[in-house]
């Protein structure tokens, strides 16, 4: 691995490097407007969220319908810490990560004994609870009035006699988002290929066999849920400092559903698939937002379109566009043998 020369890159590595270079020079193409850049940042944000959520349904096979709750917690953590204490974003990131993980554990530890649908309902209830809390605890969150005027991200070197550079416009956020996506992908790849990741995959594929290998189901599910929540919270912390305004209705159930759609569409458990799912659904959401009013339809109709996509995916490609390797192999085998294979990665009932 260390000996590989730049000429001997695999096709996959070439594609990855190519995409990264494209992403880095993308803002300098003449046709790129601020609006387009905004949408691409949104795509990156949803990549982080989808990768974070992917841990629970994709790696562990548990249905999580309340991911947006952690996104909201992260956003308000970031917003309030900035608002009241003027904390730097670089300090807020780890704090948001820890806060997300704490809430993930608090919710996960008592509820992860539940199986399948029951657990999904609990997570759904939790995210609604977060929205109610943000709406009603006016002393803390200003309720439906929202939290305006959150400081932008800045790199402050005045302590060391350097300059202070504030993130103005979309461009600096664009690069910050790229870095955050890269870190998230890096972490996901490392986990995927580790003892922790293997324990999760074992839980996903067969809980009884996993236990027989000495895996403590509850502990590993709680770890999964906490790390997933932590990434959601980091995504939220970025969102708060980027749009500089928060209100409780940004964290409605629809967001959870949208992120879950990305995972199912892209391929549950597949890091690349999940990111592609984010690209497709965020861009489609934006296109429909423009298109639907022209057709005389309210913009909310786009959720109907997402629902339709889910139904079609379940019917024709239940493992997603880029299924995890084993599923893909089985699907190929099934095709050659003219035999119908059952979807292997399915949410546990």
């Amino acid at each position: 691995m260390g000996k590989s020369e730049p000429y001997n890159l695999t096709r996959g590595a070439k594609i990855r490097i190519g995409l990264l270079i494209l992403a880095l020079i993308f803002p300098f193409f003449p046709f790129v407007s601020d609006y387009l850049l905004h949408i691409v940042i949104l795509i990156f944000l949803y990549m982080i969220l989808a990768l974070g959520l992917n841990i629970v349904p994709g790696f562990n096979g548990l249905l999580d319908l309340g991911y947006v709750g952690f996104y909201g917690i992260g956003a308000y953590t970031s917003g309030l810490l900035t608002y009241h204490f003027g904390l730097s974003y670089w300090i807020i990131i780890p704090l948001a990560f820890i806060n997300g993980a704490i809430w993930g554990m608090l919710l996960g530890a008592p509820t992860l004994r539940l199986t399948g649908d029951y657990f999904a309902i609990v997570t759904f209830g939790f995210s609604e609870l977060v929205v109610l809390f943000l709406t009603n605890e006016i002393w803390l969150t200003r309720g439906p009035l929202g939290l305006p005027g959150i400081d932008v991200v800045s790199i402050d070197l005045t302590l060391f006699g350097g300059p202070k550079w504030e993130f103005i416009g979309e461009l600096p956020y664009y690069y910050l988002a790229i870095v955050m996506v890269l870190v998230t992908v890096f972490v996901m790849y490392r986990i995927q290929d580790s003892r922790l990741g293997r324990a999760w995959f074992a839980i996903r594929d067969d809980e009884v066999a996993a236990v027989s290998c000495g895996i403590n189901l509850l502990a590993y599910k709680v770890i999964a849920f906490a790390i997933s929540a932590a990434f959601g919270a980091v995504g939220g912390s970025f969102f708060a400092r980027w749009v500089t305004f928060l209100s409780p209705d940004m964290f409605k159930f629809w967001e959870s559903f949208l992120i879950l759609c990305m995972i199912v569409l892209g391929g549950m458990g597949n890091i690349w698939g999940v990111m592609i799912g984010a690209v497709i659904l965020v861009s489609m959401s934006e296109i429909l937002r423009e298109l639907l009013p022209l057709l005389g339809l309210p913009v909310e109709v786009r959720f109907l379109a997402f629902g339709l996509i889910m139904v079609l995916m379940m019917r024709f490609r239940p493992a997603g566009m880029m299924p995890i390797a084993a599923v893909a192999a089985q699907m190929r085998a099934g095709r050659t043998k003219r035999k119908k294979t059952k979807p292997v990665v399915a949410i546990k009932k």
């Binding site: 986990i191 003892r195 594929d205 000495g214 895996i215 770890i223 089985q330």
Partner: protein, 262 residues
Amino acid sequence: MTPILEIKQLYKSFGGLEALKDISFNIDSGEIIGLIGPNGAGKTTLFNCVAGIEKPTAGRIIFTKEDRTVSIGGKKPEAVTALGIARTFQNIRLFDNLTVLDNVKIGRHCRTKSLFFGAVIRSKSQRTEEKMIAESAGRFLEFVGLKGRGDEIASSMPYGDQRRLEIARALATEPRLLMLDEPAAGMNPQESRDLMDLMRRIRDNGITVLLIEHDMKVVMGVCERVVVINHGEWLAEGLPQDVQNNPKVIEAYLGTGAANAA
């Protein structure tokens, strides 16, 4: 010989159904012992009680580990595995979406310890641990005769190989006692012979083997002692040929009258 596992007056009932009634027997260290009985006799329930998946209604299961005795009735399955009892399943339970090597690596779980930060940072200790996991997993694959097949997807392997992979995964947990639940089911005669050879090699490595099996050729060929249970009750125990000729056993398998005829 010292017993590695003592089962004392074990009872297990599911509602009104008494799956196990007053079962007592010992498993000696270093033997291959067969557990047989007609369908529904309670063999798998007994396995599940020992493995911690089912909680016995009454009775004690005592495991001896390095001169220390531990009661495992009602312990959690992951704790039982950590103690040194591994098992395979009647209907193969592999991690279908993972490679053969990863399946065995997961077996190493209870003997290793790195977690989230180790995985992300890839500290030196985590890297050495990961290397050791890969090496030992490779060794276990070689032991069961699946060398060089590590990259295949578990669910795409032939049936007999899946059985052997399951044994490799169980061995990877470094058990003192290995419980095999009908490992020869669905195997052809050649595969059964290979399996018997494998069981003997496992025993020669100092691992006690408890075997549930319907294939009498395998049971008679490999077991040093056999315990028979029927309707959840202890029926007979002894050398394979003695058990085979025991009228009570013949009756349990073939029905009343058959014993008299024989």
